[in-house]
Protein backbone atom coordinates (compact mmCIF):
# COMPACT_ATOMS: atom_id res chain seq x y z
CA UNK A 1 0.00 0.00 0.00
CA UNK A 2 2.72 2.45 0.91
CA UNK A 3 5.16 3.24 -1.84
CA UNK A 4 7.33 5.45 0.40
CA UNK A 5 10.85 4.38 1.31
CA UNK A 6 11.94 4.23 4.97
CA UNK A 7 13.86 7.50 4.51
CA UNK A 8 10.77 9.17 3.02
CA UNK A 9 8.60 7.86 5.86
CA UNK A 10 11.06 9.25 8.39
CA UNK A 11 11.05 12.62 6.60
CA UNK A 12 7.25 12.69 6.69
CA UNK A 13 7.26 11.78 10.39
CA UNK A 14 9.86 14.44 11.17
CA UNK A 15 7.86 17.01 9.21
CA UNK A 16 4.76 16.42 11.35
CA UNK A 17 6.73 16.53 14.62
CA UNK A 18 8.62 19.70 13.64
CA UNK A 19 5.38 21.35 12.55
CA UNK A 20 3.82 20.48 15.90
CA UNK A 21 6.78 21.79 17.89
CA UNK A 22 6.81 24.94 15.76
CA UNK A 23 3.10 25.40 16.56
CA UNK A 24 3.29 25.12 20.34
CA UNK A 25 6.47 27.18 20.63
CA UNK A 26 5.00 29.91 18.39
CA UNK A 27 2.09 30.28 20.83
CA UNK A 28 4.21 29.76 23.97
CA UNK A 29 2.15 32.28 25.91
CA UNK A 30 -0.83 29.94 25.54
CA UNK A 31 1.03 26.65 25.81
CA UNK A 32 4.20 26.88 27.89
CA UNK A 33 3.62 29.79 30.25
CA UNK A 34 0.27 28.90 31.90
CA UNK A 35 1.41 25.53 33.36
CA UNK A 36 4.53 27.19 34.75
CA UNK A 37 2.42 29.80 36.57
CA UNK A 38 -0.15 27.24 37.77
CA UNK A 39 2.48 24.85 39.08
CA UNK A 40 4.39 27.64 40.82
CA UNK A 41 1.16 28.53 42.63
CA UNK A 42 0.63 24.86 43.56
CA UNK A 43 4.16 24.67 44.95
CA UNK A 44 3.76 27.87 46.95
CA UNK A 45 0.23 27.28 48.25
CA UNK A 46 -0.02 23.50 48.66
CA UNK A 47 3.64 22.81 49.20
CA UNK A 48 4.95 25.71 51.28
CA UNK A 49 1.93 27.30 52.97
CA UNK A 50 -0.47 24.41 53.55
CA UNK A 51 2.10 21.60 53.24
CA UNK A 52 4.18 22.87 56.15
CA UNK A 53 1.12 22.40 58.41
CA UNK A 54 0.24 18.95 57.00
CA UNK A 55 3.58 17.48 57.96
CA UNK A 56 4.35 14.11 56.38
CA UNK A 57 2.50 12.11 53.72
CA UNK A 58 3.53 8.55 52.86
CA UNK A 59 6.56 8.99 55.10
CA UNK A 60 7.78 12.06 53.17
CA UNK A 61 7.59 15.84 53.47
CA UNK A 62 4.32 16.93 51.88
CA UNK A 63 6.12 19.10 49.31
CA UNK A 64 8.32 16.19 48.22
CA UNK A 65 5.24 13.94 48.09
CA UNK A 66 3.22 16.17 45.76
CA UNK A 67 6.02 17.12 43.34
CA UNK A 68 5.93 13.89 41.26
CA UNK A 69 2.12 14.10 41.05
CA UNK A 70 2.22 17.71 39.92
CA UNK A 71 4.85 16.96 37.28
CA UNK A 72 2.70 14.08 36.06
CA UNK A 73 -0.41 16.25 36.07
CA UNK A 74 1.35 18.79 33.83
CA UNK A 75 2.55 16.05 31.48
CA UNK A 76 -0.90 14.46 31.22
CA UNK A 77 -2.79 17.71 30.70
CA UNK A 78 -0.39 19.17 28.17
CA UNK A 79 0.16 16.01 26.13
CA UNK A 80 -3.60 15.67 25.77
CA UNK A 81 -4.25 19.36 25.15
CA UNK A 82 -1.58 19.66 22.47
CA UNK A 83 -2.90 16.87 20.29
CA UNK A 84 -6.59 17.52 20.77
CA UNK A 85 -6.35 21.23 19.97
CA UNK A 86 -3.83 20.89 17.14
CA UNK A 87 -5.55 18.02 15.32
CA UNK A 88 -9.04 19.47 15.78
CA UNK A 89 -7.86 22.87 14.51
CA UNK A 90 -6.47 21.13 11.43
CA UNK A 91 -9.82 19.46 10.91
CA UNK A 92 -11.68 22.71 11.50
CA UNK A 93 -9.49 24.75 9.12
CA UNK A 94 -9.52 21.82 6.69
CA UNK A 95 -5.74 21.79 6.41
CA UNK A 96 -5.91 18.15 7.45
CA UNK A 97 -6.54 17.79 3.69
CA UNK A 98 -2.85 18.58 3.14
CA UNK A 99 -2.10 15.28 4.82
CA UNK A 100 -4.97 13.31 3.35
CA UNK A 101 -3.93 14.01 -0.24
CA UNK A 102 -0.32 13.06 0.53
CA UNK A 103 1.00 9.49 0.65
CA UNK A 104 1.77 9.58 4.40
CA UNK A 105 0.45 6.34 5.90
CA UNK A 106 -1.96 6.58 8.83
CA UNK A 107 0.49 5.14 11.34
CA UNK A 108 2.98 7.90 10.56
CA UNK A 109 0.26 10.53 10.98
CA UNK A 110 -0.60 9.04 14.38
CA UNK A 111 3.04 8.66 15.43
CA UNK A 112 3.81 12.24 14.37
CA UNK A 113 0.97 13.72 16.39
CA UNK A 114 1.66 11.55 19.42
CA UNK A 115 5.33 12.60 19.37
CA UNK A 116 4.27 16.23 18.97
CA UNK A 117 2.05 15.87 22.05
CA UNK A 118 4.88 14.17 23.92
CA UNK A 119 7.26 16.96 22.96
CA UNK A 120 5.00 19.52 24.64
CA UNK A 121 4.01 17.31 27.59
CA UNK A 122 7.59 16.33 28.38
CA UNK A 123 8.97 19.84 27.84
CA UNK A 124 6.52 21.16 30.39
CA UNK A 125 7.26 18.20 32.67
CA UNK A 126 10.92 19.16 32.52
CA UNK A 127 10.20 22.85 33.17
CA UNK A 128 8.00 21.96 36.17
CA UNK A 129 10.71 19.61 37.48
CA UNK A 130 13.33 22.35 37.28
CA UNK A 131 10.87 24.73 38.95
CA UNK A 132 10.23 22.26 41.78
CA UNK A 133 13.94 22.26 42.62
CA UNK A 134 13.45 25.77 43.97
CA UNK A 135 11.07 24.33 46.58
CA UNK A 136 12.44 20.88 47.41
CA UNK A 137 15.37 18.55 46.80
CA UNK A 138 14.63 15.72 44.40
CA UNK A 139 16.68 12.55 44.41
CA UNK A 140 15.96 9.97 41.78
CA UNK A 141 15.27 6.48 43.16
CA UNK A 142 14.93 4.59 39.87
CA UNK A 143 15.69 6.56 36.70
CA UNK A 144 14.52 3.76 34.38
CA UNK A 145 11.04 3.50 35.91
CA UNK A 146 10.72 7.27 36.20
CA UNK A 147 11.60 7.95 32.56
CA UNK A 148 9.64 5.00 31.18
CA UNK A 149 6.53 5.92 33.16
CA UNK A 150 6.55 9.56 32.16
CA UNK A 151 7.25 8.81 28.48
CA UNK A 152 4.54 6.15 28.23
CA UNK A 153 2.01 8.26 30.13
CA UNK A 154 2.68 11.18 27.81
CA UNK A 155 2.24 8.89 24.79
CA UNK A 156 -0.99 7.48 26.23
CA UNK A 157 -2.60 10.89 26.77
CA UNK A 158 -1.42 12.13 23.40
CA UNK A 159 -3.27 9.15 21.90
CA UNK A 160 -6.33 10.04 23.97
CA UNK A 161 -6.19 13.60 22.67
CA UNK A 162 -5.93 12.32 19.10
CA UNK A 163 -9.06 10.15 19.43
CA UNK A 164 -10.94 13.01 21.09
CA UNK A 165 -9.98 15.32 18.19
CA UNK A 166 -11.15 12.78 15.61
CA UNK A 167 -14.52 12.42 17.32
CA UNK A 168 -14.98 16.14 17.98
CA UNK A 169 -17.27 18.09 15.69
CA UNK A 170 -17.13 21.44 17.49
CA UNK A 171 -14.75 23.27 19.84
CA UNK A 172 -16.92 22.37 22.87
CA UNK A 173 -16.16 18.72 22.22
CA UNK A 174 -12.45 19.16 22.80
CA UNK A 175 -12.90 20.58 26.30
CA UNK A 176 -15.43 18.05 27.61
CA UNK A 177 -12.97 15.22 28.29
CA UNK A 178 -10.24 17.41 29.88
CA UNK A 179 -12.79 19.19 32.09
CA UNK A 180 -15.10 16.38 33.11
CA UNK A 181 -12.85 13.32 32.92
CA UNK A 182 -9.14 14.16 33.07
CA UNK A 183 -9.20 16.83 35.76
CA UNK A 184 -11.30 14.83 38.29
CA UNK A 185 -9.32 11.64 37.63
CA UNK A 186 -6.03 13.50 38.06
CA UNK A 187 -7.07 15.23 41.29
CA UNK A 188 -8.41 11.93 42.64
CA UNK A 189 -5.39 10.02 41.31
CA UNK A 190 -3.22 10.42 44.39
CA UNK A 191 -1.49 13.63 43.34
CA UNK A 192 -2.16 15.36 46.68
CA UNK A 193 -2.64 12.39 49.05
CA UNK A 194 -1.79 8.77 49.61
CA UNK A 195 -4.76 6.46 49.13
CA UNK A 196 -3.78 4.85 52.45
CA UNK A 197 -5.62 7.79 54.02
CA UNK A 198 -8.91 6.73 52.41
CA UNK A 199 -11.53 4.40 53.90
CA UNK A 200 -11.47 0.90 52.35
CA UNK A 201 -14.41 1.56 50.01
CA UNK A 202 -12.95 4.74 48.49
CA UNK A 203 -9.54 3.11 48.37
CA UNK A 204 -11.07 0.35 46.24
CA UNK A 205 -12.74 2.93 44.01
CA UNK A 206 -9.45 4.81 43.64
CA UNK A 207 -7.76 1.62 42.46
CA UNK A 208 -10.01 1.75 39.38
CA UNK A 209 -8.54 5.13 38.41
CA UNK A 210 -5.81 4.55 35.81
CA UNK A 211 -4.14 7.89 36.56
CA UNK A 212 -3.44 6.66 40.12
CA UNK A 213 -1.11 4.02 38.65
CA UNK A 214 0.73 6.51 36.49
CA UNK A 215 1.23 9.05 39.28
CA UNK A 216 2.38 6.32 41.67
CA UNK A 217 4.68 4.70 39.12
CA UNK A 218 6.35 8.05 38.54
CA UNK A 219 6.47 8.79 42.27
CA UNK A 220 8.17 5.44 42.80
CA UNK A 221 10.79 6.35 40.18
CA UNK A 222 11.61 9.58 42.01
CA UNK A 223 10.94 8.87 45.68
CA UNK A 224 10.89 5.08 45.93
CA UNK A 225 7.41 5.08 47.50
CA UNK A 226 4.17 4.07 45.84
CA UNK A 227 0.63 2.99 46.68
CA UNK A 228 0.80 0.40 43.88
CA UNK A 229 3.40 -1.85 42.26
CA UNK A 230 5.25 0.30 39.66
CA UNK A 231 5.50 -2.63 37.25
CA UNK A 232 1.73 -3.07 37.39
CA UNK A 233 1.54 0.66 36.52
CA UNK A 234 3.79 0.21 33.50
CA UNK A 235 1.85 -2.87 32.39
CA UNK A 236 -1.45 -0.99 32.60
CA UNK A 237 -0.12 1.96 30.64
CA UNK A 238 1.15 -0.36 27.91
CA UNK A 239 -2.23 -2.10 27.66
CA UNK A 240 -4.03 1.26 27.39
CA UNK A 241 -1.55 2.46 24.75
CA UNK A 242 -2.13 -0.70 22.69
CA UNK A 243 -5.91 -0.38 22.88
CA UNK A 244 -5.97 3.34 22.05
CA UNK A 245 -3.49 2.87 19.18
CA UNK A 246 -5.73 0.23 17.62
CA UNK A 247 -8.80 2.47 18.03
CA UNK A 248 -7.01 5.52 16.58
CA UNK A 249 -5.67 3.60 13.56
CA UNK A 250 -9.10 2.12 12.84
CA UNK A 251 -10.66 5.56 13.00
CA UNK A 252 -8.02 6.92 10.62
CA UNK A 253 -8.54 4.01 8.21
CA UNK A 254 -12.28 4.70 8.16
CA UNK A 255 -11.64 8.43 7.87
CA UNK A 256 -13.82 9.07 10.91
CA UNK A 257 -14.60 12.78 10.97
CA UNK A 258 -12.01 13.61 8.33
CA UNK A 259 -13.31 11.99 5.13
CA UNK A 260 -16.87 12.09 3.81
Amino acid sequence: MSGMSSAALFTAFKTIVVKEIRRFTRIWVQTLLPPVITMTLYFIIFGNLIGSRIGQMGGLDYMAFIVPGLIMMSVITNSYANVVSSFFSMKFQRNIEELLVSPVPNWIILAGWVCGGMARGLSIGLIVTVLSLAFTNLTIHNLGIMVTTVFLTSALFSLGGFINAMLATKFDDISIVPTFVLTPLTYLGGVFYSIDLLPDFWRGVSMANPILYMVNGFRYGILGVSDVNPFVSLGMILVFITVLTIIALRMLARGKGIRH
Binding site: I16, R22, Q93, N95, E98, V101, P103, G255
Partner: protein, 316 residues
Amino acid sequence: MTNALEIEGLTKTYGSGFQALKGIDLNVKQGDFFALLGPNGAGKSTTLGIVSSLVNKTAGKVRVFGYDIDTHLSDAKVNLGVVPQEFNFGQFEKVFDIVTTQAGYYGIPLKEASVSAEKYLRKLGLWDKRNTPARMLSGGMKRRLMIARALVHEPGLLILDEPTAGVDIELRRSMWAFLEEMNREGTTIILTTHYLEEAEALCRNIAIIDHGRIVRHTSKRELLQQLSIETFVLDTDTALDVVPVLHGFEVRLDDEGSLEVDVEKGQGLNGVFIQLEKLGIKVLSMRTKANRLEELFIRMIEENAEETRRAGEGVA
Protein backbone atom coordinates in the same frame (compact mmCIF):
# COMPACT_ATOMS: atom_id res chain seq x y z
CA MET B 1 0.46 5.30 -23.12
CA THR B 2 -1.19 4.98 -19.71
CA ASN B 3 -3.95 7.48 -19.06
CA ALA B 4 -3.28 10.09 -16.38
CA LEU B 5 -6.69 9.35 -14.91
CA GLU B 6 -9.14 6.51 -15.43
CA ILE B 7 -12.47 6.35 -13.68
CA GLU B 8 -14.85 3.42 -14.11
CA GLY B 9 -18.36 3.09 -12.73
CA LEU B 10 -17.68 5.52 -9.89
CA THR B 11 -20.57 5.93 -7.48
CA LYS B 12 -20.93 7.84 -4.26
CA THR B 13 -23.83 7.76 -1.87
CA TYR B 14 -23.47 9.97 1.19
CA GLY B 15 -24.63 8.90 4.64
CA SER B 16 -27.76 11.00 4.20
CA GLY B 17 -28.73 8.75 1.28
CA PHE B 18 -27.97 11.41 -1.33
CA GLN B 19 -26.50 9.79 -4.44
CA ALA B 20 -23.90 12.29 -5.65
CA LEU B 21 -22.39 10.08 -8.36
CA LYS B 22 -24.37 7.52 -10.33
CA GLY B 23 -21.68 5.63 -12.21
CA ILE B 24 -19.09 7.94 -13.71
CA ASP B 25 -16.72 6.80 -16.47
CA LEU B 26 -13.92 9.18 -17.40
CA ASN B 27 -10.52 8.97 -19.06
CA VAL B 28 -7.97 11.76 -19.14
CA LYS B 29 -4.93 11.26 -21.37
CA GLN B 30 -1.42 12.14 -20.26
CA GLY B 31 -0.55 15.71 -21.18
CA ASP B 32 -4.18 16.71 -21.55
CA PHE B 33 -5.70 19.96 -20.35
CA PHE B 34 -9.10 18.75 -19.27
CA ALA B 35 -12.18 20.54 -17.95
CA LEU B 36 -14.82 18.95 -15.78
CA LEU B 37 -17.85 21.18 -16.01
CA GLY B 38 -21.24 21.13 -14.43
CA PRO B 39 -23.69 23.18 -12.39
CA ASN B 40 -23.44 23.45 -8.61
CA GLY B 41 -24.10 20.11 -6.92
CA ALA B 42 -23.57 18.14 -10.15
CA GLY B 43 -20.84 15.95 -8.64
CA LYS B 44 -17.63 17.67 -9.80
CA SER B 45 -16.11 18.20 -6.37
CA THR B 46 -17.20 14.75 -5.20
CA THR B 47 -15.46 13.18 -8.20
CA LEU B 48 -12.26 15.12 -7.61
CA GLY B 49 -12.57 14.51 -3.86
CA ILE B 50 -12.57 10.76 -4.45
CA VAL B 51 -9.60 10.96 -6.83
CA SER B 52 -7.65 12.95 -4.24
CA SER B 53 -8.68 10.73 -1.27
CA LEU B 54 -10.72 13.38 0.50
CA VAL B 55 -13.97 11.50 -0.08
CA ASN B 56 -14.55 7.75 0.29
CA LYS B 57 -16.11 6.21 -2.80
CA THR B 58 -19.07 3.86 -2.62
CA ALA B 59 -18.10 1.77 -5.67
CA GLY B 60 -16.08 1.92 -8.85
CA LYS B 61 -12.45 2.13 -9.88
CA VAL B 62 -10.04 5.05 -9.96
CA ARG B 63 -6.55 4.82 -11.41
CA VAL B 64 -3.96 7.61 -11.46
CA PHE B 65 -1.23 6.89 -14.03
CA GLY B 66 -2.30 3.25 -13.82
CA TYR B 67 -2.13 3.09 -10.01
CA ASP B 68 -5.39 1.84 -8.55
CA ILE B 69 -6.33 3.87 -5.47
CA ASP B 70 -7.63 0.67 -3.84
CA THR B 71 -4.37 -1.23 -4.12
CA HIS B 72 -1.63 1.37 -4.78
CA LEU B 73 -2.98 4.47 -3.07
CA SER B 74 0.41 5.81 -2.07
CA ASP B 75 1.79 5.58 -5.63
CA ALA B 76 -1.36 7.21 -6.97
CA LYS B 77 -1.02 10.09 -4.48
CA VAL B 78 2.63 10.72 -5.35
CA ASN B 79 1.53 11.43 -8.93
CA LEU B 80 -1.22 13.80 -7.91
CA GLY B 81 -1.28 17.48 -6.90
CA VAL B 82 -4.52 18.99 -5.64
CA VAL B 83 -5.64 22.61 -5.51
CA PRO B 84 -8.94 22.68 -3.62
CA GLN B 85 -11.73 25.18 -4.01
CA GLU B 86 -11.46 26.59 -0.48
CA PHE B 87 -8.36 27.84 1.31
CA ASN B 88 -7.19 24.94 3.42
CA PHE B 89 -3.76 25.87 4.73
CA GLY B 90 -2.76 26.88 8.26
CA GLN B 91 -3.60 30.57 8.38
CA PHE B 92 -0.83 31.27 10.90
CA GLU B 93 1.89 29.37 9.04
CA LYS B 94 4.40 31.21 6.88
CA VAL B 95 4.14 30.81 3.10
CA PHE B 96 7.49 29.02 2.76
CA ASP B 97 6.73 26.67 5.67
CA ILE B 98 3.38 25.70 4.16
CA VAL B 99 5.01 24.66 0.89
CA THR B 100 8.02 22.85 2.40
CA THR B 101 5.84 21.09 4.98
CA GLN B 102 3.69 19.74 2.16
CA ALA B 103 6.84 18.46 0.45
CA GLY B 104 7.82 16.81 3.73
CA TYR B 105 4.55 14.86 3.73
CA TYR B 106 5.71 13.37 0.41
CA GLY B 107 8.99 12.37 2.03
CA ILE B 108 11.04 15.09 0.33
CA PRO B 109 13.88 16.26 2.63
CA LEU B 110 13.89 19.93 3.59
CA LYS B 111 16.94 20.81 1.45
CA GLU B 112 15.33 19.47 -1.73
CA ALA B 113 11.94 20.80 -0.71
CA SER B 114 13.37 24.29 -0.26
CA VAL B 115 14.73 24.31 -3.83
CA SER B 116 11.39 23.19 -5.25
CA ALA B 117 9.45 25.62 -3.03
CA GLU B 118 11.61 28.52 -4.21
CA LYS B 119 11.11 27.52 -7.85
CA TYR B 120 7.32 27.55 -7.63
CA LEU B 121 7.01 30.51 -5.27
CA ARG B 122 9.13 32.54 -7.69
CA LYS B 123 7.12 31.37 -10.72
CA LEU B 124 3.90 32.30 -8.99
CA GLY B 125 5.17 35.67 -7.78
CA LEU B 126 5.14 34.77 -4.08
CA TRP B 127 8.86 34.60 -3.30
CA ASP B 128 8.84 38.06 -1.69
CA LYS B 129 6.05 36.87 0.60
CA ARG B 130 7.80 33.68 1.70
CA ASN B 131 8.08 34.78 5.35
CA THR B 132 4.57 36.22 5.51
CA PRO B 133 1.90 34.35 7.50
CA ALA B 134 -0.68 33.01 5.05
CA ARG B 135 -3.54 34.93 6.62
CA MET B 136 -1.88 38.21 5.55
CA LEU B 137 -2.03 37.32 1.82
CA SER B 138 -4.63 38.64 -0.62
CA GLY B 139 -7.20 36.23 -2.06
CA GLY B 140 -5.28 35.87 -5.33
CA MET B 141 -2.02 35.21 -3.49
CA LYS B 142 -3.71 32.53 -1.38
CA ARG B 143 -4.88 30.78 -4.56
CA ARG B 144 -1.36 30.90 -5.99
CA LEU B 145 0.02 29.59 -2.71
CA MET B 146 -2.24 26.55 -3.02
CA ILE B 147 -0.95 25.98 -6.57
CA ALA B 148 2.69 26.19 -5.40
CA ARG B 149 1.89 23.77 -2.57
CA ALA B 150 0.25 21.32 -4.98
CA LEU B 151 3.25 21.39 -7.33
CA VAL B 152 6.11 21.21 -4.82
CA HIS B 153 6.45 17.42 -5.24
CA GLU B 154 6.30 17.74 -9.06
CA PRO B 155 3.15 15.65 -9.70
CA GLY B 156 2.28 14.39 -13.18
CA LEU B 157 -1.40 15.24 -12.70
CA LEU B 158 -2.60 18.54 -11.29
CA ILE B 159 -6.22 18.87 -10.24
CA LEU B 160 -7.64 22.35 -9.72
CA ASP B 161 -11.10 22.88 -8.30
CA GLU B 162 -12.25 26.39 -9.30
CA PRO B 163 -8.69 27.78 -9.37
CA THR B 164 -9.60 31.32 -10.37
CA ALA B 165 -12.73 31.83 -8.29
CA GLY B 166 -12.74 35.39 -6.95
CA VAL B 167 -9.56 36.33 -8.79
CA ASP B 168 -9.39 39.55 -10.82
CA ILE B 169 -9.07 39.40 -14.61
CA GLU B 170 -5.39 40.34 -14.79
CA LEU B 171 -4.39 37.74 -12.25
CA ARG B 172 -6.66 35.16 -13.87
CA ARG B 173 -4.87 35.69 -17.18
CA SER B 174 -1.47 35.31 -15.52
CA MET B 175 -2.64 32.12 -13.81
CA TRP B 176 -3.85 30.82 -17.17
CA ALA B 177 -0.44 31.55 -18.66
CA PHE B 178 1.23 29.70 -15.79
CA LEU B 179 -1.05 26.67 -16.14
CA GLU B 180 -0.51 26.60 -19.91
CA GLU B 181 3.24 26.62 -19.31
CA MET B 182 2.93 23.74 -16.81
CA ASN B 183 0.85 21.84 -19.34
CA ARG B 184 3.38 22.46 -22.13
CA GLU B 185 6.08 21.12 -19.82
CA GLY B 186 4.14 17.87 -19.51
CA THR B 187 1.84 18.20 -16.50
CA THR B 188 -1.63 16.86 -17.12
CA ILE B 189 -4.19 19.33 -15.82
CA ILE B 190 -7.80 18.78 -14.83
CA LEU B 191 -9.84 21.74 -13.75
CA THR B 192 -13.35 22.54 -12.76
CA THR B 193 -14.51 26.06 -13.34
CA HIS B 194 -17.59 28.20 -13.41
CA TYR B 195 -15.92 30.50 -15.91
CA LEU B 196 -16.66 28.64 -19.11
CA GLU B 197 -14.53 31.16 -20.93
CA GLU B 198 -11.66 29.68 -18.92
CA ALA B 199 -12.41 26.14 -20.08
CA GLU B 200 -12.80 27.37 -23.65
CA ALA B 201 -9.47 29.22 -23.54
CA LEU B 202 -7.43 26.52 -21.84
CA CYS B 203 -8.81 23.04 -22.25
CA ARG B 204 -8.56 20.54 -25.07
CA ASN B 205 -11.05 18.02 -23.74
CA ILE B 206 -14.18 18.50 -21.73
CA ALA B 207 -16.62 16.42 -19.72
CA ILE B 208 -19.93 17.81 -18.58
CA ILE B 209 -21.41 16.30 -15.45
CA ASP B 210 -24.94 16.79 -14.23
CA HIS B 211 -26.94 15.08 -11.49
CA GLY B 212 -24.08 12.65 -10.89
CA ARG B 213 -23.79 11.50 -14.50
CA ILE B 214 -21.47 12.43 -17.34
CA VAL B 215 -23.72 13.95 -19.98
CA ARG B 216 -20.92 14.68 -22.49
CA HIS B 217 -17.28 13.63 -22.70
CA THR B 218 -15.51 14.83 -25.81
CA SER B 219 -12.98 17.26 -27.24
CA LYS B 220 -13.66 20.98 -27.03
CA ARG B 221 -13.46 21.22 -30.82
CA GLU B 222 -16.13 18.55 -31.29
CA LEU B 223 -18.29 20.10 -28.66
CA LEU B 224 -18.12 23.52 -30.23
CA GLN B 225 -18.90 22.05 -33.64
CA GLN B 226 -22.23 21.02 -32.21
CA LEU B 227 -23.20 24.62 -31.98
CA SER B 228 -25.71 25.15 -34.76
CA ILE B 229 -25.42 28.91 -34.45
CA GLU B 230 -22.27 30.92 -33.90
CA THR B 231 -22.29 34.59 -32.99
CA PHE B 232 -19.82 37.02 -34.58
CA VAL B 233 -19.10 40.51 -33.31
CA LEU B 234 -18.34 43.07 -36.02
CA ASP B 235 -16.73 46.42 -35.23
CA THR B 236 -17.80 49.03 -37.77
CA ASP B 237 -16.25 52.34 -38.81
CA THR B 238 -19.15 54.35 -37.41
CA ALA B 239 -21.21 53.69 -34.31
CA LEU B 240 -24.64 52.41 -35.34
CA ASP B 241 -27.85 53.63 -33.73
CA VAL B 242 -30.21 51.48 -35.72
CA VAL B 243 -29.92 47.76 -36.23
CA PRO B 244 -29.35 47.13 -39.97
CA VAL B 245 -31.58 44.53 -41.60
CA LEU B 246 -29.54 41.63 -43.04
CA HIS B 247 -31.72 39.09 -44.81
CA GLY B 248 -31.25 35.56 -43.51
CA PHE B 249 -29.38 36.67 -40.39
CA GLU B 250 -30.33 37.55 -36.83
CA VAL B 251 -28.67 40.90 -36.05
CA ARG B 252 -28.50 43.06 -32.93
CA LEU B 253 -26.36 45.81 -31.42
CA ASP B 254 -24.31 45.19 -28.31
CA ASP B 255 -23.78 47.73 -25.51
CA GLU B 256 -20.78 49.27 -27.27
CA GLY B 257 -22.53 49.75 -30.61
CA SER B 258 -20.89 46.76 -32.29
CA LEU B 259 -22.94 44.43 -34.45
CA GLU B 260 -23.69 40.94 -33.24
CA VAL B 261 -24.66 38.58 -36.07
CA ASP B 262 -25.90 35.01 -35.56
CA VAL B 263 -24.67 32.74 -38.36
CA GLU B 264 -26.13 29.29 -38.74
CA LYS B 265 -23.85 26.34 -39.39
CA GLY B 266 -23.03 26.13 -43.13
CA GLN B 267 -24.54 29.52 -43.86
CA GLY B 268 -21.20 31.29 -44.40
CA LEU B 269 -20.26 34.90 -43.74
CA ASN B 270 -20.20 36.19 -47.32
CA GLY B 271 -23.88 37.14 -47.20
CA VAL B 272 -23.24 39.33 -44.17
CA PHE B 273 -20.40 41.26 -45.80
CA ILE B 274 -22.23 41.70 -49.13
CA GLN B 275 -25.30 43.13 -47.42
CA LEU B 276 -23.25 45.42 -45.15
CA GLU B 277 -21.30 46.66 -48.18
CA LYS B 278 -24.57 47.54 -49.89
CA LEU B 279 -25.68 49.45 -46.80
CA GLY B 280 -22.42 51.39 -46.83
CA ILE B 281 -21.25 49.94 -43.53
CA LYS B 282 -17.54 49.22 -43.38
CA VAL B 283 -16.34 46.39 -41.12
CA LEU B 284 -13.07 47.19 -39.36
CA SER B 285 -12.63 43.96 -37.42
CA MET B 286 -14.45 40.80 -36.54
CA ARG B 287 -14.30 38.21 -33.74
CA THR B 288 -16.33 35.30 -32.51
CA LYS B 289 -18.30 36.06 -29.40
CA ALA B 290 -16.74 34.46 -26.31
CA ASN B 291 -18.64 32.05 -24.12
CA ARG B 292 -19.72 29.83 -26.99
CA LEU B 293 -19.16 27.02 -24.56
CA GLU B 294 -21.42 28.66 -22.05
CA GLU B 295 -24.24 28.65 -24.56
CA LEU B 296 -23.70 24.97 -25.29
CA PHE B 297 -23.31 24.12 -21.63
CA ILE B 298 -26.61 25.72 -20.68
CA ARG B 299 -28.34 23.93 -23.54
CA MET B 300 -26.96 20.55 -22.51
CA ILE B 301 -27.87 21.01 -18.89
CA GLU B 302 -31.40 22.02 -19.91
CA GLU B 303 -31.67 19.00 -22.21
CA ASN B 304 -30.45 16.73 -19.44
CA ALA B 305 -32.95 18.18 -16.99
CA GLU B 306 -35.70 17.63 -19.55
CA GLU B 307 -34.64 14.02 -20.13
CA THR B 308 -34.51 13.40 -16.39
CA ARG B 309 -37.98 14.88 -16.01
CA ARG B 310 -39.34 12.72 -18.85
CA ALA B 311 -37.71 9.60 -17.42
CA GLY B 312 -39.29 10.43 -14.06
CA GLU B 313 -42.70 10.78 -15.69
CA GLY B 314 -42.16 7.49 -17.54
CA VAL B 315 -41.44 5.62 -14.32
CA ALA B 316 -44.40 7.23 -12.62
